[in-house]
Structures are given as structure tokens and as C-alpha cells.
């Protein structure tokens, strides 16, 4: 039985320019990945990793590939200075990007350009295999992605200015499928801040499938904020594959505020001794939104640490799914892992599914996890109201406070204020 979504992608693949597909000798790898995706099909609810995120409605929809660069109103782009890469419907938009004035040691360019001047060693990650039969979207990405962000920071470089990448969905007559592949490589002892926006320039129901590789060399530091504000009809599959060398520090915050369906797999391998991950996030599942975040934290080396602070909101008929998987391998002694996932259920029709999974094979390990689903604290609500704050505003204040915990680590005040404003604008209708 043919699945319309996959059939439409197979057709789209045949129409991609042969030269682009073959760039960097990736043609064979792309065809292999496509064949595997077509053979295994879309994951079903029988696959444990997809149990809470059914794709039955999605698989019936065909998508085409964007033919040309769409026009957008620059006002939809986030405010702020500094280096920036913008993609519109998956196509690099040079006119909206700022690549000049990069600090020494920072290389920033679209993947489409990097593929042309390919240095095979640098792009080895593009030929990575995805062997699991339910890795369909990673396989499709490996087959299709012709563009994305390439960001390399040389050893010892400390970049003060944040680098921004913006993925814009622009309205088209036919729904399109966008595939982006990003590479972020932070050299030994280097540090950088990266801000990633996924947003919409108008009503659209695109499928955006992006895959981001994050490599942190020994002692490297990356602060990474991802703000997902996609259109209410958009479908997103996002996968992050991070590898941290010794004493590397990766701090990220993910805000899932938009889309109809957004699934994020965040896989981080703590490969070097003393590597540290702090991953926070907020899932704001209102309307009929379905948000699914799946963490796979892999402690491989000694004395590695992870602190995971995630907050979920279920309002209206929204659904938030959170899976916090932590694996501590044999030999990863001295590891510390902390996971906190708290959720607010603000409507009787909303649903929260949370599942912390801790698997420990090492000794001398400190690990804790907690997951809760509850309502706003009645005492706090009464306290605010007893001072004159109206009920709706009190609920908004408390809901915002609940989310803020996940943003406490943001070391950039301007960014924090921006995010706060974004949340504050959204929450009154959510909390009401």
C-alpha cells in the first residue's frame, strides 16, 4: 500500500537537480537513505518511540519541494544585530542574511555553498547512517537536505556576539516539504552563542524536517537557544545529534510554542570525561497542538553531568509528550544526572504524557528524576488575588513563572527579555 506522503517525496526526489544531489559525492548516500525510508515507511504507533505521536493524518498528505526563493516581509524576522543566516522554505536567503563582519575564527555559511567547495573530511557527518527502521525522518533528511547552516568556530575563539539562524516558512500554493541539515562545530576551548528561530511568514502547512549536528571539542562551550514559533498548521520534525568531548559544556533551551505537530529528538552523547549538558525547555501545548520532545542523553565517559529542566503546559485540546531518556553506560563512573519535568494541566481536554527513563550501568552515580502533572497552586493564586490582581492576570503570572524556571540559565539578558515577552504575549489566552 503506497503512502501518499512518501510517494510524493519519491517524486520530488526525482526532480531535484542531479548536480546538487551529487555534490561532495553524496549521491549514493542520498539514494541509499531514500530507499531505506521508502522500504520501512513511516513509523507507526507500534514503534515504542512513536507511541504517543501518531502520523496517520500526516501520511495521507502529499508535499512538493520548494521551487524558488519566496519573498518575505523582513519585519517577520527577529530583531537584533550580528551575524545571521536566513532560510525561507528551506532555501538560503542571502538578502536577509548577514555574513559580513564575522569575528576571526568563526566560519558561517550555508550548506549549499559548503557542498560546492567540499572538503570531504569536514562533511563526513553528512554520510552518517541511520540504521533504525523508525529513523524515517532522519533518513529523509539525509536524502533530501541540500541546505542548512554550517558554523565552525576555530580552537580558542571566543565569540561574544550571538550567531542567529532563522528558518522561515512562507505561504505557497501547495504545501511543501523542507529539509535542512545543520552543522555546528565548536573547536577546542572555543565558545559561542547560537540562537535558532523557526517561524512563519504567513499561514502555511509545510513539513519541516531538520537535522542538526552539534560537535563540541574538548573544553568547548556552546549556548544554544531554539525558539519554535511556527504556524499553527505546520508540521516539524527536528533532530539534534550532539557529541561532547572532554570538559565541553553545552547549554541549551528549547521553546516549543508553535506548529500543529512538533517532534524533537534531542540526542546528546557525553563522550569525553567531565562533559556537561544543561538542557531546558518549555512545551506550550495549547489549541490542538501536539508537541513531542524526546531526550536521549548518553553518558559514556567519567564524571559527566546533565541537568535537564523541562516544563510542559497542556491547555485547550493540546497534548505535550515528554520522554526523558538517560543512559549511563558502564565505566561512566562519577556521573551526575538530574531530570525534572513538571507539567501544568490547564484544561480537562488537554493531555500530558511524561516518561522519565533512567538506565544505569555504572557505579558511583548520582541520578535523580522527577515528573509531575498538576494545576496552578491555589494558595499562590489566592495570594495574588488578595492583593488586587485579577484572576486572569494572576493565572498568567503564575503560568509565566512556571515556565521561567526553564529559562533561568539564559545568560543573555536581552534574549531573556525577548523570550519573556514572547511567552507573556502567548500565556493570557493559554492560562485563561
Amino acid at each position: 500500500m503506497s503512502v501518499p506522503l512518501l510517494a510524493s517525496l519519491e517524486q520530488a526526489f526525482a526532480q531535484l537537480p542531479a548536480a546538487a544531489l551529487q555534490a561532495a559525492q553524496l549521491g549514493e548516500s542520498r539514494r541509499t537513505h531514500l530507499a531505506a525510508a521508502l522500504a520501512d515507511g513511516l513509523p507507526t504507533a507500534r514503534a515504542e518511540r512513536w507511541r504517543y505521536t501518531p502520523l496517520r493524518a500526516l501520511e495521507r498528505r502529499p508535499f512538493v519541494t520548494a521551487a524558488a526563493l519566496a519573498e518575505i516581509d523582513p519585519a517577520v524576522l527577529p530583531a537584533g544585530e550580528g551575524p545571521r543566516l536566513v532560510f525561507v522554505n528551506g532555501v538560503f536567503a542571502a538578502a536577509h542574511s548577514r555574513l559580513d563582519g564575522l569575528p576571526a575564527g568563526v566560519e558561517l555559511l550555508p550548506l549549499s555553498q559548503a557542498l560546492l567547495g567540499a572538503d570531504a573530511r569536514d562533511l563526513a557527518h553528512l554520510a552518517r547512517r541511520f540504521d533504525a527502521s523508525d529513523d524515517t525522518f532522519a533518513r529523509l533528511n539525509a536524502a533530501f537536505a541540500l541546505d542548512g547552516l554550517v558554523l565552525r568556530v576555530a580552537a580558542g575563539t571566543r565569540c561574544e556576539q550571538p550567531v542567529t539562524v532563522v528558518m522561515v516558512g512562507a505561504p505557497t500554493t501547495t504545501d511543501i516539504a523542507v529539509h535542512l541539515r545543520h552543522l555546528v562545530d565548536i573547536g577546542e576551548g572555543a565558545s559561542l552563542r547560537l540562537v535558532e528561530h523557526q517561524l512563519s511568514a504567513g499561514a502555511q502547512a509545510h513539513l519541516v524536517n531538520s537535522l542538526c549536528h552539534v560537535h563540541l571539542k574538548p573544553g568547548a562551550r556552546l549556548s544554544h537557544l531554539r525558539v519554535q514559533c511556527e504556524d499553527v498548521a505546520a508540521t516539524l520534525f527536528t533532530r539534534t545529534e550532539g557529541v561532547l568531548a572532554g570538559a565541553a559544556e553545552y547549554q541549551r533551551a528549547d521553546l516549543e510554542l508553535g506548529a500543529a505537530l512538533s517532534r524533537h529528538e534531542l540526542n546528546i552523547a557525553l563522550q569525553g570525561n567531565g562533559a556537561r549538558l544543561r538542557s531546558n525547555g518549555v512545551l506550550l501545548a495549547d489549541g490542538r497542538r501536539h508537541l513531542d520532545t524526546r531526550l536521549g542523553i548518553d553518558h559514556i565517559a567519567r564524571d559527566t553531568r546533565c541537568e535537564l529542566t523541562w516544563r510542559g503546559l497542556g491547555a485547550d485540546r493540546g497534548r505535550a509528550v515528554f520522554h526523558g531518556g538517560i543512559l549511563i553506560r558502564a565505566g561512566a563512573d562519577g556521573t551526575s544526572a538530574q531530570l525534572s519535568n513538571k507539567n501544568l494541566l490547564l484544561s480537562p481536554h488537554a493531555e500530558i504524557d511524561t516518561q522519565p527513563v533512567l538506565e544505569i550501568h555504572a557505579d558511583e552515580v548520582q541520578a535523580s528524576h522527577g515528573a509531575t502533572v498538576g494545576q496552578l497552586d491555589a494558595n499562590a493564586l489566592f495570594y495574588l488575588r488578595s492583593r488586587g490582581v485579577g484572576e486572569a492576570q494572576a493565572r498568567t503570572l503564575l503560568t509565566l513563572a512556571f515556565c521561567r524556571v526553564a529559562l533561568d540559565d539564559l545568560d543573555d539578558d536581552a534574549l531573556r527579555e525577548q523570550i519573556d515577552a514572547l511567552l507573556a504575549a502567548r500565556l493570557p489566552e493559554v492560562a485563561a
Binding site: R387, L397, L400, A401
Partner: protein, 255 residues
């Protein structure tokens, strides 16, 4: 200003207040004392509008309003303030932001112009100076990680800022050392005026050495069984609450 008549209140099916009556006029300070379980905190909570209290009989007039018909935020805007026995910790909500939101919500209700940030901060500094409170409480989240003393100080600061017509202090003295107790008393005494009234709920007479009441009432088993002037508080201090045992039956109302 406040007129409570024959108030009966149930909590979880159990009658706690059994016909309480009390009248408070502008400028007066009333102390309500009583043993544990007498219904002291229930009175404060019912007046402020906390959920979970079932009013089975009686009336409460506040000015020209039927207090029991108002939402908690409307009661606040009408000028009623409850200093909590256990102020609630609210991580993630900045104290200054919260107070500005509260004050402006009240002003809006009363058709007064809202204060902008500059005007608000000016007012805050003025109140801090008068109360001899440092501004470190302002930058923190509401009561979050505050010591017991800091929490009560924050309550008094809120009261000073919101300038209620009637302030109810619910065992504000519990768990306070003598310095914090004096600070609370100073705050109250500073705010005493011909237009403003206080109801001070306390288990101990100690606070009343610093906030000298005009009237003292004894609350026992859900109603006021004895009323008098400040000397009644001293009598309670010396004799305890045991002598009230014989006084529970007679029907008595408050002042």
C-alpha cells in the same frame, strides 16, 4: 466600616464560626485573641475571600458593599488587606512587578489613573524609607527563599504600599523574634489614622504591647465570648484561656 453579623462558616462540613458578630469603625484597632482552633484564621480567610469556606448564615458589610458577594481582588480594591499568617512563596514572579500589577489593578478598579514605572518606584522608595526596609526584597521573587521575618516584613511593606482602609493581620507575630515584631508594630502604628482600621488576630498578648488596641475580643469555639479594652489582653496573659470554659454557653455578641 466593617459589620459582621451572626456569621456561621463551615469548613469541610464542620462548623468553625458559630454566630460571630463584630463591628469595626474607622480609626479603631481591634485585637482578636483566642486559643488554637477557635476560628481566628478562618475569620481572616473568610473576610479576604479564600475558597473552601461555606458561609451558612450571617452577613458582612464592608462600607456600603456586601463583602461576601465580592471576588478576592474586588475586596482588595475596596480597601481590604489580609496580612497572611503564612505568606506564599511564588518563585518566578518578581516582587516589584507583582506589587505594581496589584496596585495598578486596584487603581483601575477605583477609576484612578494607573502609575507608570517611574511614579511607582518613587512611591516604593518613599514607603521603604518610612518603614526602614532595605530594597533587597524588591529584586527577589515574591517571598521566595525569604526568612520568616522577611516574609512578614514583605507583608507590612505591601500593606504600606496598597494603603488599605481595613487591614487584617492574621497572627503576623507568629514565629517572629522581638526585632521583627517591633518592625511589624512600627509599620502598623505608622499607618494608624482616623480613616483606617486594623483587626489584629493573635494568639499571644506580646504583639499588643507594641500595637495598643482600642478593643480586645476573645474568640472561642467560633464566637466572640468576651470583649473589653486592652486590659483584657493582660488578663488573658495572666490567666490563660482556661477561665473561658464557663463562658462558652452564654449568647454574647461583639461590640
Amino acid at each position: 466600616m466593617l459589620k459582621i453579623e451572626n456569621l456561621h462558616v463551615r469548613v469541610a462540613g464542620k462548623e468553625i464560626l458559630k454566630g460571630l458578630s463584630l463591628t469595626v469603625k474607622p480609626g479603631e484597632v481591634h485585637a482578636i485573641m483566642g486559643p488554637n482552633g477557635a476560628g481566628k484564621s478562618t475569620l481572616g480567610n473568610v473576610l479576604a475571600g479564600r475558597e473552601g469556606y461555606e458561609i451558612t448564615a450571617g452577613t458582612v458589610d464592608f462600607g456600603d458593599k456586601d463583602l461576601l458577594q465580592l471576588e478576592p481582588e474586588e475586596r482588595a480594591a475596596e480597601g481590604l488587606f489580609l496580612a497572611f499568617q503564612y505568606p506564599v512563596e511564588i518563585p518566578g514572579v518578581n516582587n516589584t512587578y507583582f506589587l505594581k500589577a496589584a496596585l495598578n489593578a486596584q487603581r483601575k478598579y477605583r477609576n484612578e489613573a494607573e502609575l507608570d514605572s517611574m511614579q511607582f518606584l518613587k512611591l516604593v522608595r518613599e514607603k521603604l524609607r518610612v518603614l526602614h526596609i532595605s530594597d533587597d526584597l524588591l529584586h527577589r521573587a515574591v517571598n521566595s527563599g525569604f526568612s520568616g521575618g522577611e516574609k512578614k516584613r514583605n507583608e507590612i511593606f505591601q500593606m504600606a504600599l496598597l494603603e488599605p482602609r481595613l487591614a487584617i493581620l492574621d497572627e503576623t507575630d507568629s514565629g517572629l523574634d522581638i526585632d521583627a515584631l517591633k518592625m511589624v508594630a512600627e509599620g502598623v502604628n505608622h499607618m494608624r489614622s482616623a480613616e483606617r482600621a486594623f483587626v489584629v488576630i493573635t494568639h499571644y498578648q506580646r504583639l499588643l504591647d507594641y500595637i495598643v488596641p482600642d478593643y480586645v475580643h476573645v474568640l472561642a469555639e467560633g464566637r466572640i465570648v468576651e470583649s473589653g479594652d486592652k486590659s483584657l489582653a493582660h488578663k488573658l496573659e495572666q490567666q490563660g484561656y482556661a477561665w473561658l470554659e464557663e463562658r462558652r454557653l452564654p449568647e454574647r455578641s461583639g461590640v
